[in-house]
């Protein structure tokens, strides 16, 4: 299923506002993600990046604002959206295998009560192969390295066969092998016309890995193509002047971020 609605945004969140107690975490934030792009969400700690992702997914209820996926409310389009949570959000000592975790991505298609069968398992096996983890299918998940666990989570999202992939820090604490595997995967998804939104921490790789960027610090500071938006000026606005000379399009000297 490939959606050919070129002028409709893959994800469009408007006026999202969310507060814990009295402290605003997101203030009037828009998120506009065209179809077929790789978009990074960038901002300092506590800027609301994860909160934004979780709000888009309906895991948090915003005080105001709405989320549309391909023009319709998120609740109706859930099947088109896959989620890759932060690796640290679950207990990896849970008694199960890598393949079983990936199979969980097929549950939404099964409906209530029905158990996954041979066809679900073979789809899960294929997804594991896509992230180079087929050899680890029967491994207990606590015996996987951090990067391998991250790839298992990615495979679980792949098996959902969604149009939009929302990822929370997919590059967090992974080794070089996994980082390469993820980058290749992101590009393969883009080539397939899929859309990826990822919370990203490493400013130095934003321009290399992503097409678009949303700079966030409680408010949306700037958003658009990396070449236009990912400038020193915007980064200073986002990080409050704590970033010295990041490589914008015109600046290739000091690549240093202080977070």
């Amino acid at each position: 299923m490939r959606l050919r609605t070129s002028n409709v945004l893959a994800v469009q969140a408007t006026d999202l506002t969310l507060a814990y107690q009295q402290r605003p975490v997101l203030w009037d934030v828009d998120l506009d993600v065209p179809q077929g792009v790789l978009m990074a969400i960038v901002g300092p700690n506590g800027a609301g990046k994860t909160t934004l992702l979780r709000t888009v997914l309906g895991l948090l209820r915003p005080a105001a604002g709405e989320v549309r996926v391909f023009g319709r409310p998120y609740a109706e389009q859930r099947r088109l959206v896959a989620y890759v949570p932060q690796r640290g959000s679950v207990d990896w000592d849970f008694p199960t295998t890598a393949l079983d975790i990936v199979t969980m991505g097929t549950y939404s298609g099964l409906g209530w009560v029905r158990r996954p069968g041979a066809s679900e398992r073979s789809r899960a096996t294929a997804a594991l192969a896509q992230v180079g983890m087929q050899a680890y299918a029967d491994r207990q998940i606590s015996q996987l390295s951090g990067g391998q666990q991250q790839r298992v989570f990615l495979a679980r999202a792949l098996v959902q066969d969604a149009q939009v992939y929302l990822m929370d820090e997919p590059f967090q604490g992974v080794d070089a092998t996994t980082e390469r595997a993820i980058v290749n995967l992101l590009r393969a998804l883009r080539a397939d016309g899929k859309t990826v939104v990822a919370v990203h921490h490493d400013l130095q790789t934003v321009a290399e890995y992503f097409d678009q960027v949303t700079l966030l610090n409680v408010r949306r500071i700037a958003a658009g193509p990396v070449g236009k938006v990912f400038t020193d000026e915007n980064l200073r606005l986002t990080y409050g002047g704590r970033v010295a000379g990041i490589g914008g399009p015109t600046n290739g000297t000091e690549h240093e971020a202080h977070l």
Binding site: R78, Y107, W112, S142
Partner: protein, 377 residues
């Protein structure tokens, strides 16, 4: 020892064994999920909170029928769970505090009602105090039938919603993004846990029932890395602890609840110590063995480095005093004698040591292995 033959002949013992097996299976299976969801203490709070339900059910209906008392127990136990969730969500009280608070409030209320009942002249009040520490000996066939049927509802729930409960336990956020009603599933699983608790209440008692929820699951986790196996094992451990404990307490005339709990704890201790891979004994042995292997490799690479300095004669003897100084005499000497026994190192006449040609090859292989990028990274 003819308890075993009595088991098949004696009506009371057979009833006790069957009932305890039923309660153990149900609390073991559902307790496994409680352990995985880190809700062990919630089980404790709910079982204590069941006491006022038992007492009030008797007070209101005047009946001691097992089903009536179970329904009362389930209602207040469930109410306590809801109260805990609500307090945590609505105030800034943390889960720990909310659970301790509800446990003592409900248990206190239960004791008050219980003592009130004790002072009444009404007939048939006897036996309610047994709900504190449990009593297996008084179990009737009708009790067993009620326990088994109520428990079957709990087990059926787990079987039917297996994949939903698995995902809810591992990654509730992901479950929510799939469109699963995670809050309602959470409530349902907690309610099934309440069922497991009330099934065992009269036999084990409210004070120690939580041990029957936690112990079998904790023990089962040690032996397997599969959820299905863990839940099955947990049910079997629960049944074993229930039957053994109930029979022991009936023959030795001790309190049933504490005896069952002691047996269950025994299973936990054995599992924590001796389970392969996760057991303490196994991990210690493993650590000790890998330390020894590391010491062997270190000494081999030291000797290989010394040999490399004299490329003309690789098996020329070296004084190991330097190795003693760096790595410690005991470690080096033990490693050298093990290497010699394996034919990898040799002692020369003057007291010096060198690797054998085979040892040199092995050291070279290890060095190459260590340089290669590990696939584990």
């Amino acid at each position: 020892m003819d308890v075993l033959s009595d088991l098949f002949l004696d009506y009371t013992l057979r009833t006790v064994a069957l009932g305890s097996a039923a309660l153990g299976i149900v609390s073991g299976a559902l307790g496994a999920f409680a352990v995985l969801r880190r809700q062990a203490l919630l089980g404790d709070a709910m079982s204590h909170a069941a006491l006022p339900g038992v007492a009030l059910a008797f007070l209101i209906t005047g009946s001691r029928a097992p089903l009536v008392l179970m329904i009362g127990a389930a209602l207040t136990g469930w109410l306590a769970a809801v109260a805990i969730v609500y307090i945590v969500r609505a105030s800034r009280t943390n889960t720990d505090t909310a659970m301790a608070l509800m446990l003592s409030v409900f248990f206190g209320a239960g004791l008050v009602v219980l003592t009130f009942i004790q002072r009444q002249p009404a007939a048939g009040k006897a036996g309610l105090d047994k709900f504190l520490f449990g009593q297996a000996a008084a179990m009737l066939e009708s009790d067993v039938i009620t326990m088994a049927s109520v428990g079957a509802v709990g087990l059926l729930g787990v079987l039917v919603l297996w994949k939903e409960f698995k995902l809810l336990s591992f990654d509730p956020d992901f479950a929510a993004t799939l469109g699963m009603p995670t809050r309602r599933l959470d409530m349902l699983l907690t309610s099934l846990l309440v069922i497991a608790i009330v099934v065992g209440l009269k036999t084990v008692g409210v004070v120690l029932m939580s041990a029957m929820v936690v112990a079998p699951g904790a023990a089962a986790r040690q032996w397997t890395n599969r959820l299905g196996v863990m839940v099955t094992l947990s049910a079997l451990f629960g049944a074993a602890a229930g039957v053994l404990g109930a029979l022991l307490s009936t023959t030795a005339q001790t309190s049933t609840g504490p005896t069952i709990v002691l047996v269950a704890t025994g299973l936990v201790v054995v599992s924590l110590l001796f389970a392969p891979t996760r057991g303490l004994v196994w991990t210690r042995m493993h650590a000790w063995r890998s330390q020894r292997i590391l010491a062997l490799e270190a000494v081999m690479s030291d000797l290989a480095a010394l040999a490399a300095q004299h490329s003309s004669d690789a098996t020329r003897p070296h004084d190991v005093a330097a190795l003693h100084a760096v790595r410690g005499r005991a470690l080096v000497d033990r490693a050298l004698s093990e290497l010699a026994a394996d034919g990898l190192a040799q002692r020369h006449d003057g007291g010096g040591w060198s690797l054998t040609p085979r040892g040199l090859a092995e050291a070279d292989r290890l060095a190459r292995l260590r340089r290669a990028p590990s696939d584990f990274l």
